[in-house]
Symmetry: C2
Subunit: 371 residues, 2 copies
């Protein structure tokens, strides 16, 4: 597979520079190594999340500092109990600080099987003991979402679409807040339709935009439309792009990601149960999107960005493209090809986490097992 394509894999496609060298990462955005990293390249679970050995007043001061997960809700602190209904967890039924206090990386994706597969892959990548095959679903009491924990990494499914990912994120953010997590990075690893990029390309999102190519997330609150920004973490984009450079034959680009409420008409597909437009109109729309810098289309990124950023989570979106929408609508690649495509965001994010933890790099050269 070629390492570049006509829209500039490994490049900042949205800025219309086809093949520039990757930008250097500013010192402030350099990967932060974790003291728990061992020279053998394995993550030491027992070193994670230890409370700092500081006096109580200093600890309180630390809690007030940046890095904590924020809740933007003045009502929450007055609640005697918080039931995280769709995760089957709660503040009175579970010791959330003990269960999650040392989580540093949260990876989310649509499919429960894929997020289990990712957790098993991370188990190997972190060099943890055992084969990771018997990982327990922390949300086993519900089938709404699946959640797995591997060292400092939490892997959670979110279903399909903005409402589904929003429910999960509201409860996840509250979970991380109740658990007093600090300096959490959250990455969505998903699938998408490409725009002018070859199938199998990995798109790192620099901007999540709506169906009119605007970086905004509209929501109806008490009957009124509220508009929120969809900023993602620019430093994370650079870090992820740098990680992709070290993986051979790994087509990667940076671009805008369009987020829609519908997979068929909402993404200009001609193959739904309903369709009221022509192929010509469809292509005009998709080309307008491409001209605006959109390189892939999915169904969660604007809400993901709008919810995570304000709550103090450094957020990124990494999606593989399953087809080029300028060439068709139906996903017809074989099961095996699609499986390999879907592993690519997992490989990149695993390489990123290993780099952050200062582990000797496998740099995405190993691959997850099939879902």
């Amino acid at each position: 597979m070629p390492s570049t394509n006509r829209c500039g894999q490994r490049s900042r496609a949205a800025e219309s520079r086809p093949h520039p060298p990757p930008s250097p990462i500013p010192a402030s955005r350099q990967p932060r190594t974790c003291q728990a990293a061992s020279e053998l390249g394995a993550y030491k679970w027992e070193d994670a999340g230890k409370a700092p050995a500081v006096p109580r007043i200093a600890a309180v001061s630390l809690e007030m500092s940046a890095g904590l997960v924020h809740i933007k809700n003045p009502h929450l602190e007055a609640m005697d109990e918080d039931v995280l209904y769709h995760l089957d967890l709660g503040t009175k039924t579970h010791d959330l600080p003990a269960m999650f206090g040392d989580v540093k990386f949260v990876c989310v994706g649509g499919s429960p099987n894929r997020m289990r597969s990712f957790a098993q892959f991370m188990h190997k990548e972190l060099g943890l003991e055992g084969d990771g095959e018997d990982l327990a679903d922390i949300c086993a009491g519900t089938d709404r979402y699946a959640m797995y924990r591997v060292g400092p990494v939490l892997s959670i499914s979110h279903g399909m679409g903005i409402p589904s990912v929003s429910i999960m994120l509201h409860e996840l953010i509250k979970l991380l807040h109740h658990a007093k997590c600090r300096d959490v990075t959250i990455i969505r690893i998903g699938t998408s339709g490409g725009l002018g990029v070859q199938a199998g390309s990995v798109v790192i999102t620099d901007r999540a935009v709506d169906a009119r190519f605007q970086p905004r997330f509209e929501q109806v609150v008490l009957g009124d439309v509220v508009v929120r920004g969809t900023d993602l973490d620019g430093g994370l984009v650079e870090e992820l792009l740098a990680c992709s450079e070290a993986i051979p034959d790994f087509p990667t680009l940076v671009g805008h990601t369009m987020c829609t409420y519908d997979f068929y008409e909402g993404q200009g597909r001609l193959d739904g149960a309903l369709c009221s437009f022509s192929n010509e109109k469809k292509l005009q729309y998709l080309k307008r999107a491409h001209d605006a810098g959109v390189r892939n289309i999915e169904m969660e990124s604007t809400a993901f960005a709008a919810l995570c950023g304000p709550c103090g989570l450094r957020a990124a979106v990494v999606c593989v493209t399953l087809l080029d929408r300028l060439e068709g609508d139906q996903i017809r690649a074989s099961h095996e090809v699609l499986q390999e495509y879907q592993q690519r965001p997992q490989r990149l994010v695993a390489a990123f986490i290993r780099r952050r933890l200062g582990l000797r790099t496998a740099a995405g050269n190993t691959r997850p097992s099939s879902d």
Copy 2:
């Protein structure tokens, strides 16, 4: 549990008539019995879906008649193959007419476990051989949705929210079209928050409305807003209400159902990770909704109505309320209580299907096993 409450269970709450007698069912809407029904009260699988013994020309004429599932898409007939990606089915890989041609009832709900439980329950209610414990998931090749078939009944999960249910419905409607299904009734059996009704009430939706209480479904298509109606089948509402009358201690009402894109702020909850309004503003909004005839709130009904109706499916929505939103936001009932609540729409729809099939009524007095 009392059989009525302050908002008029078993009544047409949205029309502000607290306790009227149920309307008589017009002759044209009387349950249509199925010739396959046996006097023993068991559905005969082998009689279902037999091709009519008519000459070819007459058969073609029949195909043109009402009752077939319509596709509102002129592009589809030109397609050589239709891959129903999220169902892991397709026109070239599966004999859809043989697999689904005699389906008459489609029941959909959010949770895959619940839809499996419903299929097993229907297996017993139809008096089919075996215990139904080993029902195979027809969509086992994907974890996006789960699908089970029991006699003329298809039970499918749709995940949470409009985008998720829309993807499933587009592919389901195409499946029913390719399979040449005829006279299909589709019912969503779900959970919801109640408005001024006691927890555990079953709401039969007479009108699906958006977050501004309007019977409309807005969708962005090629960057433009398209507005569609959300009509549901009035005759089905009457039939379902009549079925509920025969089930003892079964609080049921007819009312408007509000469909939102968000579970937290979008439904006026104070307990999300973000909340920018006061308890007073929340209650003002919920009371306005109640005054407009809304009796429960969920996240799929407008899209469900907007997609099913135009395609020739007779559609209904039957949801149980898990709490009264005028009294709180968090779902805190015990697992056992919630399980029993969630079985209520299943019991009502099972009674309805048995009545339609002319089976000797068990009328919802039996209960599904737990999920």
